[in-house]
Structure formats: structure tokens, C-alpha cells
């Protein structure tokens, strides 16, 4: 994943190089492609959302046209943006944490701590993904909709949430496996996570 279209390098730590293990590297490559795709899609969704909200103001004020689908459409798109890009944010460790210990602990202890943090994060996100798919299944099989006038099906945003959380889970898994299989990793990681 490159930061090619950033005006200046942001978002903290440099990206880890390609994992040493070929299987892990393969999975990382697939996720990278998905993340890029999700990012571009989200950019479009974000612009569309702004457009739709503006349209809704114009339509109501100047043409007295009822606005009933705009709220659902914007909510669905933004929910999609948030969850589909969660894995992308994780890929460069953009989910912010409090890194107070890294400068205090000895390197070996730090490596264990970082691994433990990733494993627990992985377990939580895996649980959340599982429950999201369950929610999706309920909404799908019962034909649930939002309770608005427009009433679009709820499986749409639920599936975006479930897919996004699954990719996030896999992204963390790749990072855990990279930590376990890479030899050089232990050194580069701690230099980039200082407070």
C-alpha cells in the first residue's frame, strides 16, 4: 500500500515491508488490493453523499419535492465508508492508541506486548465480524428494512459492516502472522510506535 496520493506523509508509522513468509505476503497482497478498491469507492461515496445532501436541500426548498430517500442513502454510504476502510486504516496502523509504554519497556517485553495487543484486537474483531454476519443473516432472512418512509433493506448496511469488519480482522491477522514469521520485524516495529 503506498501513500502516493498524499500531499505529505501523514498517519504515523511507516508501512512494514512485504512479509517474509510467502503465504502471509500473498494474503497481504490481496488485502492491499481490496483496501485500495475500498478507498477509491469510499472517495466516490463521500462526494456523492455531499451531493445528495445538497440536492435534498435544493429539492425541498426550491421545488417542494419531498425528501425521503436521501437520509437512508447517505447513512448507508457513510456506514460503508467507515467500515470498508477500517482495514485500510489498520494496514498503516491508523487506529490510534495510547503508546505510553513503548519508550519505557525493554525491547523484548515490548515485542511481546505488541504481539499480545494484536492478538487480542484480532479476537475482538473476529467476534465482531461473526456477530455482524449473524445480524446480516437475520435482516436478510426476515426482510428487515429501516423504519423510515423509504424503507430500504437493512441487509445492505449490515453487509457493508460485516464485510468491512472481516477485512479488518484479516488485516490484523496478517499483522500478527508477520510479527511471528518475520525476522527483521521486531526491530523496525518499536522504532515507529513511540509516543
Amino acid at each position: 500500500m503506498s501513500h502516493g496520493f498524499d500531499t505529505k506523509p501523514t498517519a504515523g508509522p511507516a508501512l512494514p515491508a512485504t512479509p517474509d513468509n510467502p503465504v502471509v505476503a500473498g494474503l497481504a497482497g490481496v488485502l492491499d488490493r481490496f483496501n485500495k478498491f475500498a478507498l477509491y469507492l469510499s472517495m466516490v461515496a463521500l462526494m456523492l453523499t455531499a451531493l445528495i445532501m445538497t440536492y435534498s436541500v435544493v429539492a425541498r426548498y426550491f421545488f417542494h419535492t419531498p425528501t425521503d430517500w436521501q437520509d437512508d442513502a447517505t447513512v448507508f454510504m457513510l456506514v460503508g465508508v467507515i467500515f470498508l476502510c477500517a482495514g485500510y486504516a489498520q494496514s498503516y496502523r491508523g487506529h490510534i492508541g495510547i503508546e505510553a509504554l513503548s519508550s519505557i519497556l525493554p525491547a523484548a517485553v515490548n515485542a511481546v506486548r505488541l504481539l499480545l495487543v494484536d492478538v487480542v484486537s484480532f479476537l475482538f474483531c473476529a467476534f465482531f465480524s461473526w456477530k455482524s454476519w449473524t445480524l446480516f443473516h437475520e435482516a436478510w432472512s426476515e426482510g428487515q428494512t429501516t423504519s423510515s418512509t423509504f424503507a430500504p433493506p437493512l441487509w445492505i448496511p449490515y453487509s457493508l459492516m460485516a464485510l468491512g469488519m472481516t477485512v479488518l480482522t484479516l488485516q490484523i491477522l496478517v499483522q500478527v502472522l508477520t510479527r511471528l514469521t518475520d525476522r527483521k520485524q521486531a526491530v523496525t516495529q518499536q522504532t515507529v510506535t513511540g509516543v
Binding site: 425541498r60 417542494h64 419535492t65 419531498p66 425528501t67 425521503d68 436521501q70 437520509d71 426476515e142 428487515q144 428494512t145 429501516t146 423504519s147 423510515s148 418512509t149 423509504f150 424503507a151 437493512l154
Partner: protein
């Protein structure tokens, strides 16, 4: 952890003797059931959506993650389409008629459907509502023409559209600001909410729901079936009996709010207008051809429920 049963609702919290009647009702219910079960049942009340989001309550009841909730039934319309009958314009036009539902066929059928979904109605609570407007009062359907109105539910929006209004959807916490700036001209909601949203400060007129109304909402106190099944026989009896006792209190309090809201708006200098049988009939006729038709077409259960409800008209 506490073994207290949890009652959740979205209305402002108060005490057993003061505040929003829907909150008071849950407190009275808790106290009375506690007394009748010799303290074997304890309750914790969560007002103002302080436990979970308003829209999560129904599904939490179904899953057994919440014990009780007092919530407008139609809020669950996306999950269980049948419950949209709880806020069907013109289908109920008086408190007496609403009260008759519980023991009539329509009530039994609705209870059966809800039981299937894992929810039991403990107390049948009906509430009338009206329209606050920042311009002229909306009495006749023709008054709504060209105004930006928030109906608040799919069915209300349908009759408003038919009447020529530009229907606005926005979250209830933005109603005040939107009315103040004029992004919205009028809002339809229950008498009690008309008071607690303080819309009188930004309104010039009120169409009250006292005497005659086409806006009646079913807002029951419900228990999760999972919780109900866990109770002993005596506890179950106590819950249902106290729930039934609360219905009279609810009706009186709702009526008081209907006239109370009129007084509040009058005092704030707004014009207060009442509906009459003829205007209610006009709205009802519109509803019959739009919202009712739409509802009945959803599935067989809906069609059947509507037919049964019409028997009470």
C-alpha cells in the same frame, strides 16, 4: 450483578409523581409489581434512551437482552411490518376505540404475531397527537399543501404527500432547530412530545388532538418473552394484572396532556385549533386510499389486521 429487571424507554426521566407520564407509568408499574410480588421482582428504569438506542429496544426485547420497554410500536416497523398498524392515520379516532383493541380480534391477532416474535404486550397505551406549525394551522388536508412537514412515520408521510405537503425526514432531535430556522414548517407528533420538545417557542399554531383526532399511536409497555418465561406463575400474573391496571392511568394522563398541550401553546401565544368529525373524516378518506392500502398490500397478516381493526371503526 443486580438481578433487577430492566425497563427502557426514550422519554425524559422524572419521578413517580412528576414528569412525563410514560416515565411515571413505568415507575408506578415497577413499584406496584414489586409490592404484589413481595419484593421478589425488582426493577431498574432507564429513561431517555440511557440504556440503548431507541431503535435497538424492540430487537433487544426479542433477543431477551432487555426485559421491558415502553416504545411506540411502529418504531419496529422495519423489523416486523405488521406493527405499523400502531400508528395508522384515521384507523383509531378516539381513546375508547383504542381501548377496545386489547380484547377485540385485532388485539388478539396483534398479540399472537408479537408473541411469535418473542414479545408480549403488558399494557396497552394509546396516545393522541397533533400538529405544531410555524405558519398557519394544518386542519384540513388542503392546509398542508406546499408546506414542509415532518410526519414521523411512513404512514403519516403518505397522507401528507397525498395532501400536497413536501414531506421532510429528519431525526427528532433536529425538529426544534429546523422549525426555528424554517427548514421545516410543521411537525406531527404526540401531545406529550409536543410539550417536551418545546415547539411552542417556535410555533405559531397548534392543531390539537383533544376531542377529535386522526393521529393515535399505540405505545405499549412490553416484556420480552424470554424474561416472561423465566418468571414464576404468580409473578407472571402480577405483571399482567398491574400492566392492565396501568391502562386507565395512561388514558387519563394522555387526555390531560391533550388539553395540557393546548394550554401550553395558548400561553405561548400560538393559535390553537381543534379538529371536528368532518375534518377527521377527510384525513381518514385519504388514509384509506394511501396508507391503509399500502399497509394491507404488505402481507396477509397486515391485510387481516387491517380488516379486524376496521370492524371497530
Amino acid at each position: 450483578q443486580s438481578s433487577a429487571l430492566k425497563i427502557s424507554h426514550q422519554f425524559p426521566g422524572g419521578s413517580i409523581s412528576e414528569g412525563d407520564f410514560r416515565d411515571r407509568l413505568t415507575r408506578m408499574f415497577a413499584a406496584e409489581v414489586g409490592k404484589r410480588t413481595n419484593g421478589s421482582l425488582k426493577f431498574e428504569i432507564y429513561p431517555g434512551s440511557s440504556l440503548m438506542k431507541t431503535n435497538s429496544q424492540f430487537s433487544a426485547l426479542r433477543k431477551g437482552a432487555l426485559d421491558f420497554s415502553l416504545v411506540p410500536l411502529n418504531y419496529a416497523g422495519g423489523e416486523v411490518p405488521e406493527v405499523n398498524i400502531g400508528l395508522m392515520p384515521g384507523l383509531v379516532t378516539s381513546y375508547e376505540q383504542g381501548a377496545a383493541w386489547k380484547n377485540a380480534e385485532v388485539g388478539k391477532e396483534l398479540s399472537r404475531i408479537l408473541l411469535e416474535k418473542g414479545v408480549i404486550i403488558v399494557s396497552w397505551i394509546w396516545q393522541a397527537g397533533g400538529v405544531a406549525s410555524r405558519t398557519k394551522p394544518i386542519v384540513d388536508p388542503s392546509d398542508a399543501k406546499g408546506l414542509k412537514v415532518r410526519g414521523g412515520s411512513r404512514e403519516m408521510d403518505m397522507i401528507l404527500k397525498e395532501a400536497g405537503a413536501a414531506v421532510v425526514t429528519l431525526p427528532s432531535n433536529e425538529i426544534y432547530a429546523a422549525m426555528q430556522t424554517g427548514a421545516m414548517d410543521a411537525a406531527m407528533t404526540s401531545s406529550t412530545s409536543l410539550i417536551s420538545f418545546r415547539l411552542e417557542e417556535v410555533s405559531k399554531s397548534l392543531t390539537s388532538g383533544r376531542d377529535k383526532a386522526y393521529w393515535y399511536m399505540l405505545e405499549p409497555l412490553m416484556i420480552s418473552k424470554a424474561t416472561f418465561d423465566r418468571l414464576t406463575k404468580e409473578q407472571q400474573v402480577a405483571v399482567m394484572a398491574v400492566g392492565a391496571d396501568m391502562e386507565k392511568f395512561a388514558e387519563n394522563a394522555a387526555r390531560l396532556d391533550d388539553s395540557g398541550v393546548a394550554a401550553v401553546y395558548q400561553k405561548a401565544g400560538a393559535k390553537v385549533v381543534d379538529l371536528n368529525a368532518a375534518t377527521v373524516k377527510k384525513w381518514q378518506d385519504i388514509a384509506r386510499n394511501t396508507a391503509w392500502k399500502d399497509y394491507a398490500a404488505r402481507n396477509d397478516n397486515c391485510a387481516k389486521l387491517l380488516k379486524l381493526a376496521e370492524k371497530l371503526l
